[in-house]
Symmetry: C2
Subunit: 162 residues, 2 copies
Amino acid sequence: MKQTDISTKMILDRWNSLLKTGDGLVDTLSDENLQKEIAVGKNRGIYVLGHLIAVHDAMLPLLDLGKIQYPELEIPFLKSADKVIADLPSAAQLKSLWKKQSAHLSATFNAMNSDAWFEKHTAVSAEDFAKEPHRNKLNILLTRSTHLAYHQGQLVLLKQTL
Amino acid sequence: MKQTDISTKMILDRWNSLLKTGDGLVDTLSDENLQKEIAVGKNRGIYVLGHLIAVHDAMLPLLDLGKIQYPELEIPFLKSADKVIADLPSAAQLKSLWKKQSAHLSATFNAMNSDAWFEKHTAVSAEDFAKEPHRNKLNILLTRSTHLAYHQGQLVLLKQTL
């Protein structure tokens, strides 16, 4: 096994594992729970979930895998803080989008080989990439993995304690 | 730049960035804040901070970098849930340990080269490692990075809103 294949497997495994945890959270958290603030005065579950879907959607053009699928999520969940936009999708709608997106991203990413992951992402110029070869697609997957873990640490707090 | 060096840089950069965020959090959160529950009925800040220090301490033997430094943290922060052990170090003591440990881990990890990171960690046998070469030291750094991000997403909730 080439060492680049090893790195790709490590980071892809990590991403897939976090995505699976996300699937489990979406199954566990009720629509009512997701409407609650995670801590007093902080973001609601629904906002964090919509934010994650919007951030993951934006990975598609960054990884040169096509256009974003849910442009309607950009204003409420990327450009605006929670509680600024009153008209949000329902928790049930967001949970359904998460599931659909999670399956799509897993299938698409798992089909990419190591060489593809080490290519430049679309937000870096060829000139800069020649000097900074770590600004590749795998790095996008890595940074989005720690971003996902960060917000999962928050969503899990909405689980009801027995 | 070799692709293995690129992978090492990516994951090490991610770890160092999260560690720096942790340093900032430790500076921002007051001792009083850290004594609070992150959300109603959930872990206190002090427990999460102690847990992170204990988990990072356990990386040393896993990475073949020597013994753990703070064996006294194992029972309260790894083996026990929050609020089970009454006698914990103070928030000020834990903040001081975090800072000391963070500087030590950064310096030690930054001095390791890529070949060292792709070696097996100490919890996998040579036989298993031959079949599963992703069970290397860099993977420990990667999994601990998402673990750190997860708990930082929680600690940040203790910041006081203006």
